[in-house]
């Protein structure tokens, strides 16, 4: 098994006719993901390498039974596209787009929460990869193989760094989930930890966080109460100065809040082992799974 995306995934790509959208839709298709359709308003009836394009998610769902959406449109259109996909009945939505206004994300998150049953991954995330089954997003799948380590992360490249070190040590992954670096992500660490806890294929979870907000502290509390599988964590941003946004919109230490030290401390207090470097994380994982 795996979580969120697998052989059942029928993907519809919003923004499929754009340069990046086309490139990654076809990349996902080559990996074996069932890319059934795309949406670009005004370009219905066209095809992208044999994939039919529709004017709306409603048509795409009706005609191709899409059950998963990937959003690749520019920031100012992205919130609308996410809401459209949900309204059309899609229940797994992966939003890659970076730079969506925080207030838009807040409205989307509140609405989806009320609608119930919709899983939004992202925005500003690399997507989800279940090695050997499906890749929805921009994660370079070649570095990862099938295995029993689940990964959930706020950062893309850092995930590749950690995943690659694990792969070189012979370990593979059940699923790799990028929840994104924005202030109001869809799925939180807690949501993904809950899915990994229930997934029989996952033996251990690597959680990669960074400065800003309180999601890591909240996850620590959740882990202490609800997660029986071992969790190994990494936190980036120990040297980040307060008040500066470190690339990701959500990565900012506000006054004394959201520091890497506080997050690492909260996780360790909950029994989570925290690696101080990506290399140390993979060493702890290897030790935990071999031992």
């Amino acid at each position: 098994m795996s979580i969120l995306v697998d052989h059942e995934t029928r993907l519809c790509v919003s923004g499929i006719t754009g340069r990046e959208g086309t490139f990654h839709a076809l990349n996902n298709k080559r990996y074996g993901t069932d890319v059934v359709s795309g949406v670009t308003p005004g370009k219905g009836g066209q095809q992208v390498d044999g994939i039919p394009v529709f004017d709306s998610f409603r048509e795409a769902v009706e005609q191709t039974d899409a059950n998963t959406a990937m959003v690749f449109v520019p920031a100012r259109f992205a919130a609308d596209s996410i809401l459209e996909a949900a309204e059309a009945g899609i229940r797994t939505i992966v939003a890659i787009t970076e730079g969506i206004p925080a207030h838009d994300e807040l409205r989307v998150s509140t609405h989806l929460g009320r609608l119930g049953g919709v899983r939004l991954i992202g925005p500003n995330c690399p997507g989800v990869l279940s090695p050997g089954k499906a890749n929805v997003g921009i994660i370079p799948a070649d570095f990862f193989k099938e295995g029993n380590v689940g990964v959930v992360s706020r950062s893309g490249t850092l995930t590749y760094q950690i995943g690659n070190e694990l792969a070189q040590a012979g370990f593979g992954n059940s699923s790799i989930v990028g929840i994104g670096g924005d202030p109001v992500p869809g799925l939180s660490f807690i949501d993904v930890l809950e899915l990994f806890e229930a997934d029989p294929e996952t033996a251990l979870v690597v959680m990669s966080g960074e400065i800003g907000g309180a999601a890591e502290e909240e996850a620590a509390e959740y882990i202490a109460e609800n997660v029986s599988k071992p969790v190994v964590a990494y936190i980036a941003g120990f040297t980040a100065p307060p008040g500066k946004t470190m690339g990701h919109a959500g990565a900012i230490v506000s006054g004394s809040k959201g520091t890497a030290a506080a997050k690492a401390e909260a996780l360790e207090a909950a029994g989570v082992r925290v690696g101080r470097t990506p290399t140390e994380v993979s060493e702890i994982v290897i030790e935990s799974l071999d031992g």
């Binding site: 207030h103 490249t157 850092l158 120990f238 040297t239 690339g247």
Partner: protein
Amino acid sequence: MDLLEYQGKQLFARHGVPVPSGRPAETVDEAVTAADAIGYPSVVKAQVQIGGRGKLGGIKVAAGREEARDHADAILGMDIRGLRVHEVWIEEASQIEAEYYASVVFDRSARAPLVMFSTKGGMDIEQVAEEDPDAIASLHVDPLLGFQEFHGRWLAFEAGVDADLVRPLTGMLAKLYETFVAEDAMLIEVNPLIVTPERELRALDAKVTLDDNALFRHPDNAALRNPSAEDPQEQMAKERGLVYVKLDGDIGILGNGAGLVMSTLDVVAQAGGRPANFLDAGGGSKAEAIVAAVEVILSDEKVKAVLFNIFGGITRCDEVAKGLIEAFEQVKPQVPFVVRLDGTNDEEGRRLLADAQLPNLEVEATMLEAAERVVALAAGSPTVQAR
């Protein structure tokens, strides 16, 4: 993006939040003209984003023209905790009967705006929260419903404001909330929010942080400048579309992806070095972006060595290598470079670098080794680069 006090007040005024009248000034003459127009007594306020500027001599009351000139002359150009004062705000003096506190905060954890109000204004709210938490009334507002009158009444009654002020306060909080949403703010704080002897409410200070990601729909806000907070390297990076944060060390850093760059800074610090900057070259970094990045990093004269830490996903290592070779031709760096390339097309990238035989450039196999090497080089290389 953090606004200066007067920029925040101008935003408030646009949404009907009462503020004292005032004018900005960049020179002493402008300040005197402004004070004459406003009338005396007037207040000369340094425009820098720092708490407690009054105690540090950044706020002074002028009884007449001579004093206005003296104060403006003293405050303009002043250094307040490392920030130079480029502008003053000349404001009508306010009579204060009571000082309150109000704020609207983008509460990430609760996924809703948090509105806070207290009758204990004029001091640091975190101190109030610690000493007398009951003095702060707060509530979350449903983002799809917005601020309602009852929200205002709840806050006013809970905080124990006088009966005659409940209605005006409710109205003012509603307008602050409207400003928060309409301007895509992440934070709006009014401290103090004053009561005048005429029982009127006014925002005597304004602290506003806007969402950078939403500036595209607020061209007026996007054009606002804050020269005291702008660093020359950060300005240069912005113009070239790079995500750069200036730090105070001597090791220049470039990586791809915010998380990996933050991690690189940490690993360099653990190896005993001090990073000079955060620079995310982004996904799919092309050669031109690398050249621009090298220029920005080296424009900081404190930089003694540079570390490139790339894990190629969408970014291709051969593109990064080509960019580096191009940058060495154009910029001719005088400080050593350490490069770590992993991921997509890494072998091709390393081969290109080896063939180019760039002076002063070393390739390391892992992130850890690269960090240790660059720290050693920074410790041993000359302090000032010849450029």
